[in-house]
């Protein structure tokens, strides 16, 4: 079981309120991702749930029981830290066994569970090494192993992949998702990378300046961002925002159109501009179009290889059904 409920939770450091009153429910078995720019309070929120920080006011319930004043060790949660936080003076085996040793399990049971976790995580060959002798990905697995042996009510991940290189990150992302499918335990995952959020989450919580901008499934957020912040944060490359006459035509203060929802051609289309930088990835092509009279640059994503070059004048057609409209306060219009 692992349902976590936050009820009017706030957190202040001195006079600075880093979490404004916040309500949130994470269902049992859910993979929830806290995402937001750095300094938005997502890590603080995770640490409040973990019990590593006290809430200033409000309550945290775990499985319906008030856990607000329960020390971290007693909350039944396991955490994987950004730096992995492995104990450098202990072997991998002892690292993974540490929580079991603290819980007072007997040696045989400790060993059984460590072996089991090591098998799941492909660490069996490394059990007698020290963390310093492992690669980044392996250390990450040890940290996860240390978390899973406890059979916690929920896993907390604090930007666990940010210290890995790009290729390894994709691999670990898949492994964590697999792990979630297999264990079916609640996971809360903090990241600043919206790609990780989109690919892993059942539920994304977008945070900004200590409050929740929007909660929803990845595709909910992609299709119907509640405001300009979420619209700009979710999706890559970023959504284009256009103000002024073009927006007013649709009865909005600002309109947003995603780069992948703009078609380009040599001659046809209501908008036109000059190609600046173009990025050819093979699978897609990104154009940064200037002199459109709409915004500084309009980013366009075209499928496959499209042969426009720097300085070419091109025409663009937005897909009318996926234009997002926002009012002067930045809120989504129906």
């Amino acid at each position: 079981m692992g349902q976590i409920t936050l009820n009017q939770v706030t957190k202040s450091f001195g006079d600075v309120e880093v979490i404004t009153p916040l309500d949130l429910t994470i269902e049992d078995g859910e993979f929830a991702v806290f995402v937001g720019p750095s300094g938005c309070g997502k890590s603080t929120l995770l640490r409040l749930i973990a019990g590593l920080e006290d809430v200033t006011s409000g309550a945290i319930n775990i499985d319906g029981k008030n856990a607000t004043n329960v020390p971290p060790a007693k909350r039944g949660l396991a955490m994987v830290f950004q730096s992995y936080a492995l104990y450098p003076h202990m072997s991998v085996r002892k690292n993974i066994a540490f929580p079991l040793r603290m819980a007072g399990l007997d040696k045989a049971e400790q060993n059984r569970r460590v072996e089991q976790a090591a098998a799941v995580l492909n660490l069996t060959d490394y059990l007698d090494r020290r963390p310093g002798q492992l690669s980044g990905g392996q250390r990450q697995r040890v940290a996860i192993g240390r978390a899973i042996v406890r059979e916690p009510a929920a896993f907390l991940f604090d930007e666990p992949l940010s210290n890995l290189d790009a290729a390894l990150r994709v691999g670990m992302r898949l492994e964590i998702s697999e792990l979630h499918k297999r264990l079916n335990t609640t996971m809360i995952y903090v990241t600043h990378d919206q790609v990780e959020a989109m690919t892993m989450a059942d539920k994304i919580v977008v945070l900004n300046a200590g409050h929740i901008e929007q909660v929803g499934s990845p595709l909910d957020l992609y299709r119907a961002p509640r405001n300009l912040f979420v619209a700009g944060f979710i999706g890559s490359p970023k959504m284009n925002f256009i103000e002024g006459a073009e927006a007013e035509k649709l009865g909005a203060h600002t309109i947003g159109i995603r780069p992948e929802h703009i078609a380009v051609s040599e001659s046809d289309g209501p908008w036109s501009g000059v190609v600046g930088v173009s990025e050819h990835l093979g699978s897609d092509t990104f154009f940064h179009v200037h002199d459109t009279g709409l915004a500084d640059t309009i980013a366009v994503r075209a499928d496959g290889e499209v042969g426009f070059r720097h300085g070419d004048r091109i025409h663009m057609t937005p897909r009318a059904d996926v234009i997002h409209k926002f009012d002067a306060q930045g809120m989504r219009l129906p």
Binding site: A50, L52, P71, P72, A73, L77, A78, M79, F81, Q82, S83, A85, L86, Y87, P88, H89, F98, P99, M102, A103, R146, R150
Partner: protein, 276 residues
């Protein structure tokens, strides 16, 4: 520097560095050498550098006359006792400052260091008075306390700088894993900080061993350490160079050896972590 250096330049540097090194070391070398001479050879003009009859008789005489072993034992007790006591008090304090910093942590640290700057002579009389009052004069326990107190700020500082290098996340991980505060300090922090704790112990042992104000002023016969032992040679026995040298060698040898072994670790502690 990762640059190729010409052999010529390296030869010159080597010669200069060795010359200066030997010059600085010479007084110690000369003391050790003289301790193996007879009194006549010790004051021979020109000085004898090697061609003399090596003898151990000075050591025998010094031991017989001054009971070296008692002073040595006192030094070991005072330096060791004050260091161990200091570590026991300082580890929890340094843990608090390094891992649960508050707005006042910095001020407390600086204040602790400032007590180190209190001129000893300014409080000599009050301390002697208190020592008399509590029957601590010329006792080991009294001096252990004093040496512990004068070095405590340094111990706290050194441990603090070492502890600060241990990522807080590791201790938090231990806490998440169900470790109590005691287990956290015992199983995680202390083993990780072993090199730092070791060099703190070493430096403070050396400082306490060489402390020569309180040990001279608060001891008489019973608890006097080697600083007092050697001060008794200031006159007129000091004129007997060979015996003076033997006594000096006996007083500095233990700490010299200890210091050499730990010199690398000492640097960081000495600078309070301010120079990396």
């Amino acid at each position: 520097m990762a640059r190729a250096v010409t052999t010529r330049r390296k030869v010159i540097t080597t010669a200069a560095a060795w010359a200066i090194g030997l010059l600085i070391f010479f007084p110690i070398y000369w003391t050790i050498l003289t301790s193996f001479k007879t009194e006549a050879q010790a004051i021979n003009d020109p000085p004898l550098f090697f061609a003399f009859n090596w003898t151990l008789e000075n050591y025998a005489i010094v031991q017989e006359r001054s009971d070296y072993m008692r002073f040595l034992w006192n030094s070991v007790i005072l330096a060791g006792g004050s260091t161990v006591l200091g570590i026991l008090v300082a580890v929890p304090a340094a843990w608090s400052m390094a891992f649960v910093p508050s707005k006042r942590t910095k001020d407390i640290l600086l204040w602790m260091l400032s007590t180190k700057m209190l001129p000893a002579v300014g409080v000599l009389y009050p301390i002697s008075l208190l020592f008399v009052q509590f029957n601590l004069l010329d006792t080991r326990i009294g001096l252990v306390m004093v040496l512990m107190l004068i070095n405590l700020p340094i111990i706290v500082w050194m441990l603090y700088t070492y502890f600060k290098e241990i990522p807080g996340e590791i201790l938090e991980a231990a806490r998440m894993d169900g470790a109590t505060l005691k287990e956290e300090i015992l199983y995680i922090l202390t083993p990780m900080a072993v090199p730092g704790i070791a060099s703190t112990i070493l430096l403070n042992f050396i400082l306490a061993w060489n402390e020569a104000f309180w040990t001279l002023n608060l001891t008489a016969a019973q608890s006097a350490p080697l600083t007092a032992f050697i001060a008794s040679y200031s006159s007129p026995e000091g004129l007997f160079f060979a015996k003076l040298s033997a006594a000096s060698t006996m007083a500095i040898a233990p700490i010299l050896i200890l210091g050499w072994f730990s010199q690398k670790q000492l640097v960081r502690g000495l600078t309070f972590g301010a120079v990396k």
